[in-house]
């Protein structure tokens, strides 16, 4: 790995060894609240294959960011985290900072939502990009800067040599997000977690950033987990999607299938609030009624989505459904998963 960097004139390469598969089993995260711990992520299972692009979709508060930050050990120390993490065939203790730190950055990079505040305002862009490499990986400063220059060029920043000596406040929001991406790529990670990377940006810039991430994934064999609240954003990006509601995965499937025949009422609800080009222009959008459930209101005695669900049945208010495999995906809904049938009326 360090050798590849040392040979820094060669094009930047990703890791194609195919072994770096990430598996997460039963991830549960709780925070101390007014009445003991409140669980915000319930029993999350997730797999990411090398080179795969995945989307985690959900409203704010659904636990999508928290679960990914827990994966990297970036939550407050008072968070209670349990579950099993396997990375590249080895078990990693998910509750130990010491065990997670080798993964952070080097194996799994992260790009955050707000590029304005996610870069240190008092440090040059170059220094922020090379710091981890120089400090912990023994790469020479000169070499690291060369690599930073190449990466900036690759993410579409002109005059990268000069730009390295500038400070974050001298860049626009879109530029900063490009820098964040380049910085995350510095140690040649196998995987990138992008937490709503385009939410704070203009619409046109959003598209550019997503295209950039997609081409990086295709060219470097990088796995990408894109966290978003917007299903429209992921349509041309991800291969597979997890839909989360109230700290649980409610549906998981290849994206194409999910967009065409959603199996969970929440997924179809999300889809019907997205304007689509393949539908009549005057078709009204249907926002999901009600408000998202609060984490402390979640019980095992009812489906969390039942209060907002147009298809809720009696049983939905009596027991939380489990995530069950259905065909090529999984869904947790009494209507679908339990019977294995997708009622025609659900697909709007």
């Amino acid at each position: 790995m360090v050798m590849a960097i040392a040979n820094s004139r060669a094009p930047v390469q990703g890791k194609f060894d195919g072994a770096r598969r990430l598996e997460l089993q039963g991830l549960t995260v709780g925070f101390p609240g007014a009445q003991g711990y409140t669980t915000v992520v319930h029993d999350l299972d997730m797999q990411v294959a090398p080179g795969e692009r995945i989307a985690i979709v959900g409203e704010s508060g659904s636990g999508k960011s928290v679960s990914m930050m827990a994966l990297l050990g970036l939550l407050q120390p008072n968070a209670r985290i349990s579950g099993r993490l396997r990375y590249a065939g080895r078990d990693v203790d998910i509750s130990s900072q010491r065990a997670l730190r080798p993964l952070r950055g080097s194996e799994i990079g992260m790009v955050f939502q707000d590029p304005m505040s996610s870069l240190n305002p008092t440090m040059t862009v170059g220094r922020q990009m090379v710091q981890a490499l120089v400090k912990h990986r023994g790469v020479g400063r000169r070499q690291a800067l060369d690599r930073a220059e190449q990466l900036l060029e690759q993410v579409g920043i002109r005059n990268p040599r000069e730009r390295l000596t500038q400070y974050p406040h001298e860049f626009s929001g879109g530029m900063r997000q490009r820098i964040m991406i380049a910085a995350a790529l510095m140690p040649e990670p196998a995987m990138l977690i992008a937490d709503e990377p385009t939410t704070a940006l203009d619409v046109t810039v959003q598209r550019q950033i997503l295209l950039l991430l997609r081409s990086l994934s295709e060219n470097l064999g990088l796995s990408i987990v894109l966290i978003t609240h917007d299903l429209a954003v992921v349509a041309n990006f991800a291969q597979r999607a997890y839909v989360m509601y109230a700290g649980r995965v409610v549906e998981e499937r290849d994206l194409e299938g999910m967009l065409n025949t959603p199996r969970h009422p929440y997924t179809s609800g999300l889809l019907s609030c997205v304007p689509r080009l393949d539908r009549p222009r005057d078709e009204p959008l249907h926002p999901i009624p009600g408000r998202p459930i609060r984490p402390d209101e979640v019980t095992a005695g009812a489906c969390s989505f039942a209060p907002r669900c147009p298809h809720a049945m009696e049983h939905c208010r009596e027991e939380q459904p489990k995530l069950v495999r259905v065909g090529d995906g999984a869904v947790s809904c009494w209507l679908n998963g339990a019977t294995g049938l997708a009622p025609a009326g659900l697909d709007r």
């Binding site: 080798p102 952070r104 950055g105 996610s118 440090m123 710091q131």
Partner: protein, 315 residues
């Protein structure tokens, strides 16, 4: 950056000229005639005229100001009305003493405050944190000179561990000189360190929850590197502001501490000059204090610019 430096230095010079004018004119508004005071009961009109001629007190104020300013620039600070000695020769002896006092005080206060602030923030809510909060608020709530008096009383007089005051020249032995300075240094350092420690504590707690710190952590930086390079640097920006605001307090502290410890520095010289209405001495020492004050403020501004690149471009 160069433009920034020039702007700040220029601003400092302008303030200095303005303040020299203020020092000069305020002292000439003083009621009570210095010559008459100096002669006391032996008042003699002829001597009065001669003295006014000698000190140039019979000329227009504008001319006096100009003369005063130009002779200051030539290193002539005039003569004391009470001791008749050259103000400059006295000041040049006393200035290094005050500078040593201040420099030592600042160093000690940083040595105390920086670890205390970092530890308190790192273990917020813990024993160290509470101790730091209680100790700093106690120190900031009592007069500085009282702390000095207690140190003299307990350590100097009761236990006889260190000299209770006075000045021991370095030429007569470095060890004794430093021993004599320890209590004054601590007295100067305590309030300053309390203030720095508190500011550092709260600004570190602020910075550590910033998004860019999370970013730094997500890159796999060790906790130590995160704190040393990302947190400390950003947390030191408000600390710099506080140090800037505290310089006045520091100079005031030096003046008082010199009085408490009978330390023959500039502050001591000036206080006595005020009590005796010795204008040349008062003018010169007030101007020097103000000069130092403005100089340090400019330096703090520059440090601020170094620490925070955003400052350099704004205004």
């Amino acid at each position: 950056m160069l433009a920034f430096i020039l702007r700040r230095v220029g601003g400092g010079l302008a303030t200095l000229i303005l303040s020299s004018l203020v020092v000069f004119s305020v002292i000439h508004l003083v009621p009570g005639d210095p010559i008459a005071t100096a002669m006391g009961t032996d008042y003699n009109p002829a001597v009065d005229r001669a003295l006014r001629q000698l000190y140039g007190l019979n000329r227009p104020l504008v001319v006096q100001y100009w003369d005063w300013l130009t002779s200051l620039l030539r290193g002539n600070f005039g003569y004391s009305l009470t001791t008749k000695t050259s103000v400059w020769s006295e000041l040049s002896q006393r200035m290094p003493r005050t500078l040593i006092l201040l420099a030592g005080g600042v160093v000690i206060s940083l040595v105390i405050a920086v670890p205390a602030g970092i530890l308190a923030a790192r273990f917020a809510g813990g024993v160290i944190d509470r101790l730091v909060v209680v100790l700093t608020s106690s120190v900031l709530s009592v007069p500085q000179f009282w702390v000095g008096l207690l140190l003299i009383g307990f350590i100097g007089v009761k236990m006889q561990l260190l000299p209770a005051g006075g000045y021991y020249p370095f030429s007569a032995g470095v060890g004794q000189a430093i021993k004599g300075l320890i209590l004054p240094w601590i007295t100067i350092a305590l309030p300053m360190s309390a203030f720095i420690a508190r500011t550092l504590r709260s600004s570190m707690m602020d910075v550590v929850s910033q998004n860019y710190v999370r970013t730094a952590r997500s890159r796999g930086l060790s906790e130590r590197s995160v704190v040393m390079t990302h947190v400390l640097r950003n947390a030191s920006i408000p600390v710099t502001t506080v140090v800037g605001l505290e310089i006045g307090g520091l100079l005031g502290g030096a003046i008082i501490v010199e009085q408490v410890f009978s330390y023959p520095g500039m502050g001591n010289y000036m206080v006595n000059a005020v009590l005796r209405r010795d204008y040349p001495v008062l003018q010169a020492s007030a101007l020097l204090f103000t000069f130092g004050f403005i100089l340090v403020n400019v330096v703090v501004d520059l440090v601020y610019g170094v620490l925070d690149p955003r400052i350099r471009v704004s205004r």
